[in-house]
Amino acid sequence: MRTIMAASLREKQTAALKRMLNLNQEPSRSSAVEPVWKVLVYDRFGQDIISPILSVPELRDMGVTLHLLLHSDRDPIPDVPAVYFVMPSEENVQRICQDLRNQLYESYYLNFISAVSRQRLEDLASAALQAGTVPQISKVFDQYLNFITLEDDMFTLRHSQNREAISYYAINRGDVQDSEMEASMDAIVDSLFSVFVTLGTVPIIRSPRGNAAEMVAEKLDKKLRENIRDSRNSLFTSDSLQAGQFSFQRPLLVILDRNLDLATPLHHTWTYQALAHDVLDLQLNRVSVEEPAGEKSPQGARPKRKAKSYDLNFTDKFWQSHKGSPFPEVAEAVQRELEEYRSQEDEVKRLKSVMGLEGEDEGAISMLSDNTAKLTSAVSSLPELLEKKRLIDMHTNIASALLDHIKVRKLDVYFEMEEKMMSKQSLDKSLMDMFSDPEAGSPEDKMRLFIIYFICSAQTMSDAEIDQYAVALQAANCDLAPLHYIKRWKAFTKMTAAPSQYGGGGTKTISMFSRLMNTGSEFVMEGVKNLVVKKHNLPVTRVADALIDNKSYQDTEDYRYFDPKMLRVTDSSIPRNRNPVQEAIVFIVGSGNYIEYQNLVDYVKGKSGGSIKRITYGCSELSNAMLFLKQLAKLGSELH
């Protein structure tokens, strides 16, 4: 039997947020606690952090009556404490000072997302003195929650604010200045530091040499080292460790650069969550689906499409179990859930009629009490049933929307071709056919396909061939800028080994007809291939696997090794600590995506007998293929 796993990153962050919302005290566990009203003020980053984790009803339960953006017009609300959750930037602090001067609230609990500098503290102090509101500032806290947790084991650093500063584009730009680079690195290091403060452990860091990842690793190591040495203010003292976390079980942090693998972000996806991100633009666990309205309006105008947004988070059991499954499986699973729900509904209805018949039988008291027990159980299960119905409806809508997109853009064909390319099987349809087919997908899809082909082709393509393809692509309205950048990237990295890293994959097409006969599914997936993906490891997973098991793998032999707890900084690649790794965190400097996340999750599941219990995936920003392609286009256009 496994030992109890330590709380996941999301749980720790939720606990920290709840403590903050409880006016920085531990929330009590007794029943029916008196509500304490408060107003929550956040900036955009605070909003991004809170929204995937705590929903509005949960905020209500914690006593938050109003939640407002910092830089909005706010009316004075007397006699209410205000909880601020903001980044300690200059403009935020100025706005807080303004609030203090206007005396908007009764008392102020200031929680800064990352550490606040002395200068800002002094600004606050002088503003408070001027306004005479010093006794009203009850607490000032540094929360160290400078990251956004999307899943139990996935986090990203930025979403809506300051995203560009740490994107792939910013780091790999040709004309990036040293100071800008330093600023980006510092931002990333700050966030990673907060991650480890929240986890409460000091990791062992490994990173490749010679790129942005190495810089991040060095800085992080330095920062952790300084903090541990400073025994007065250390954040990693033993009383912050909970039981069950032994100090010699340290997680392994693997920092990788996006340049390791440029094909995966552009890859067409086939699993549910990745599809939602790619096609429907899943942002902070929220999807927006266009729904066609019922009938056409009488004038025969186009039916209005309203957009409904759905939350997909960890309370949704169906989502949790199926977010990594291939799309056809999802369709079947939705069908199954629907039938299950219908049978439960019928049972409840039958119970209703049974109760009506037997209610007059006075002699059978025990039967009556049985019936009342059944009735109470039915009544209490009704809300669950309704919730289930809502979830099933939501997933049906989302899956249908995905299916529409897939059919229109022929995404299944793209996926199949890309998988074949990545595993170096021969292609059924040649690339030229795909590019000249006007119906198959948008120009971006074709561009993605070509870039993947280019990256994965073992022999270098001659310039003539490339030009041929370029002409075909331009005929299809594609923007060729990314291609220039990729050419240069390939030349730089000389990753001739890269194509082999994708090997072992591939697809099998199962005939759809047998499935249709069996399930009679609502999702008429004719014309869409039912592709089954064989399990294989993406480059990121391979690297992680090698480092976790201390295997020697030709690419990772030269990785650097950092241990902040060691006394001296060494520049070695030899790991000193050879304990089996229980927990690992894989961080990508640049943009991450759900495909890699899913691959890591599958890897952990596949290794269930082994030592590794959990791998957390992190990235500096989460972008889908479109955004990444845009960044590549910008980089490419700058080359000229």
Binding site: T65, P76, D79, E122
Partner: protein, 336 residues
Amino acid sequence: MAVDRTNLFLATIKTVKTRNKILNIGSEEAKSTASIHPRPKGEFVVRAKDVIQNISKLRDFLLKHRKDYIDATGFLTSEVSKMTDNERDQIDNDAQTFMRTCSEAIRIFKTEVLKQPMPQQVRSHREAVFELMEAYLKAVCKLYSEQRAIRVKRVVDRKRISRLEPEGRRTGTDMTELRQRHKRARAELNSEEGDHKSETDDSKVMKNTPASDDPLQMEYWDEDEDDELSPEEIQMFEQENERLYNEMNSLVDEVRQIEGKVVEISRLQEIFADKVLQQEVEIDRIADTVVQSTENIKEGNEEVREAMKKDAGFRVWILFFLVMCSFSLLFLEWYS
């Protein structure tokens, strides 16, 4: 892990203050700020806090008396349980009226406050405050209704046990168990009755064979352990016992009477049997005779028929003879 910077902040304030004093900036402001009293609390907040405090009082009261109210171990102690049913009823009524007044008060307060004009954010804040108040009241009411549900369930179960269903599904061991508990509870009063009861109970046990009872026995065992015998229950049991005793007595008398009657009946039946046997002989004879006479009559009928037939033939001959004689006479007369 969040780091508390409040102390650092306060220290910073002190440094800024001293710095300002040194630089003589804003000294008048410092004086004026020192003289600002803490702002008086708004009326809304005062009233809202009052309501919350009242609800908290109710909650504390319910929690404090919860143990006594539920009283899970009352039947094991020798004394009467700590809370009579009257007290429980009173708690119920009081709690109900209190909750009703609270919800009324909240409603009135809400309509009053929302009528006033106020900025949008303050309005939504106050609406949320009312929602939270109502949710809190609901949580406390849930506490109360849970307690009450447990109590009602106990009463229903008690009634079920004490009613003694007609098929007598109880086993002897069950009854003796109850008796033991009962004896423990009322030992000083029931010694005499207890003896009687055990007698009659034994007889009852002999008469009532247990049906296939294992699950039921388990059920009753569980319920008995959960159950406590309050004085109400003890009284009910006593009454039942009295009734049973009287029933048993009357049954015994009736049985004896029936016995006597049955003996008489058997004697009379013997006499009947003798007579009947005698009559049997006679009747046999008569039967034979009757049979014979029927046969004679049948023969007689045959004879008579024959006779009638012969008679008819004889008459025919006589007639013919006479007719012949007359014809001969006629002929003789005609011819002579």
